[in-house]
Amino acid sequence: MEAILYDEGTPQELDMEKIARYVVQKMGKVKVEVRGNPFAFNVPQDKVSDYARKIASIKIQGVSQEILSEQQPLYGEIEYEKRRILGKTKSFGILYEGFHLQRIFREIVPREERSLEFVHILFTSRLFATWDDGDKRYHLRTSVYGIPSIISTTGLIEAPARPREYYLLKQQYERLGRDLLELKERFKGRFIDYEDGRLTEVLKGYAMQAVFYHLVDNPFCEDKGCRLYNAHWQEELIFAQLGSKYEFCGRHEEVLDDLHTG
């Protein structure tokens, strides 16, 4: 088996080599390759505009407005996506449809590598969401697993909810025109933020969720102390990835042991 890691506009505090070493350490007999920008690896220059157009077509305009087919992008949107693909900008903040985005990334995974022999894990700073038919709205996501598994460094910060008191106070701060940075300072450490030194350590767990999706078809675990726990709150996330006394629950530890001995 081979694990391939990609880095699509992620922040500089994310150390891909550390994540690669961690995956090797946990999986044992596995080759891990760090490929960097997925577009630079497998997209010829003359296809950049096509991919830019495709990505610009899957922007979510309103969280209650489901994207059913690709939309018509504007020239400026395509130009922006071109610059992102070519690595000329790292700016982010646009919301994309998660499954559509994954399908676009799948197209740039080399055809011969789209098999069970390869685990493709793509870290991106793009923010994405998936539609929920239950409440008829989009929900921000940290990850969508598949080929490739896409993990959002922005989603990690924005998707799992911050402490409840944070939102109540935020409302007050906004009403009074107070500086939100002051509020962030009050809650420092209780959620993952931009330029957070804990990012790499936390994302090791998400890389392993992608690995488990590949191995057993389920990336998640019910155990709140296991790195595979599907955290919906930042405090749960921090506990599962950094605070728990163990990295993996007994059941998942066993799967990893089997990989080493098998």
């Binding site: 305009q61 400026g76 922006y80 900008t89 700016s91 982010f92 903040g93 025109g177 500086d179 931009y194």
Partner: protein, 259 residues
């Protein structure tokens, strides 16, 4: 005390009309028409005029500066985030850093300095003038604006019958803020589909505004908050750095197009 010159009412009127008419005739055709005299329009106009271009800014209000006089919630402190303090330094606007990368200046001081700098650079203004429509060439290219006095739009159609006039330019900038009035005129004709602005996300919106400042349709560049409306980008909140820098980018793009 030295006495004022003996000038009659008719002389005052004649001076106003003559000088206004002279400027109006001259600026019926210019290199660039900018709709909106907010921070991004003023910044774009200033830089273009500094580069020797003939620039007319159309503003529907009597006053220039748009929302730059006042920060959020009617409080007259304006904020910019790093790296936009470069523009404040350039304009000689005093400010202080209240936290890492967040600068605060006095709204009246900042706004008046920007207006003065635009005027000093040679920008001309048509204030109390409303943008009414676009002038489009046969190939759909934007090549001018249809304008009218602002008060005309406030009167009932039944009692006013004042036709607008048209002015022309090589290129135009939509700097009308959230309204994106010029882009909306293209939308009315089915030439473009705007996305409307998203929720406020101060941390990310400023970068995206700069990245999307661009020619949205042949002959029309969109700048400042109009960029957010056009592309459905997050709203910015009461911070002005991206307005100033977006104006700079718009000016660079216009200069490139005018080459």
């Amino acid at each position: 005390m030295e006495k004022f010159s003996p000038v009659g009412e008719k002389d005052v009127t004649r001076a106003i009309v003559t000088e206004f008419a002279k400027q109006f005739v001259e600026y019926v055709e210019s290199d660039c028409i900018i709709i909106g005299a907010g921070p991004s329009g003023l910044m774009a106009g200033r830089n273009l005029a500094k580069a020797g271009k003939k620039v007319l800014i159309v503003e529907r209000n009597n006053y220039l500066g748009g929302g730059f006089w006042i920060g959020g919630y009617l409080m007259n402190k304006v904020t910019v985030r790093h790296p936009a303090e470069r523009v404040l330094d350039e304009l000689g606007i005093p400010y202080k850093e209240v936290s890492a990368g967040l600068l605060v200046a006095d709204g009246p001081h900042a706004c008046s300095k920007l207006i003065a700098s635009a005027c000093d650079s040679g920008v001309k203004f048509a204030n109390m003038t409303a943008f009414d429509d676009l002038v489009l060439k046969e190939d759909g290219r934007v090549c001018g604006a249809v304008i009218n006095w602002t008060p005309i739009s406030a009167l009932p159609r039944e009692i006013t019958c004042v036709d607008p006039v048209a002015i022309e330019s090589e290129i135009m900038i939509d700097a009308t803020g959230h309204d994106a009035q010029v882009v909306k005129k293209l939308e009315e004709r089915g030439l473009i589909k705007t996305k409307g602005f998203g929720a406020m996300w101060v941390e990310r919106s400023e970068d995206l505004i700069i990245e999307h400042t661009n020619e949205v349709h042949p002959g029309l560049i969109v700048s400042g908050m109009a960029v957010a409306t056009t592309y459905g980008l997050p709203r910015m909140g009461p911070t002005f750095g991206a307005m100033l820098l977006s104006g700079e980018v718009a000016a660079e793009l216009v200069l490139e197009k005018l080459k």
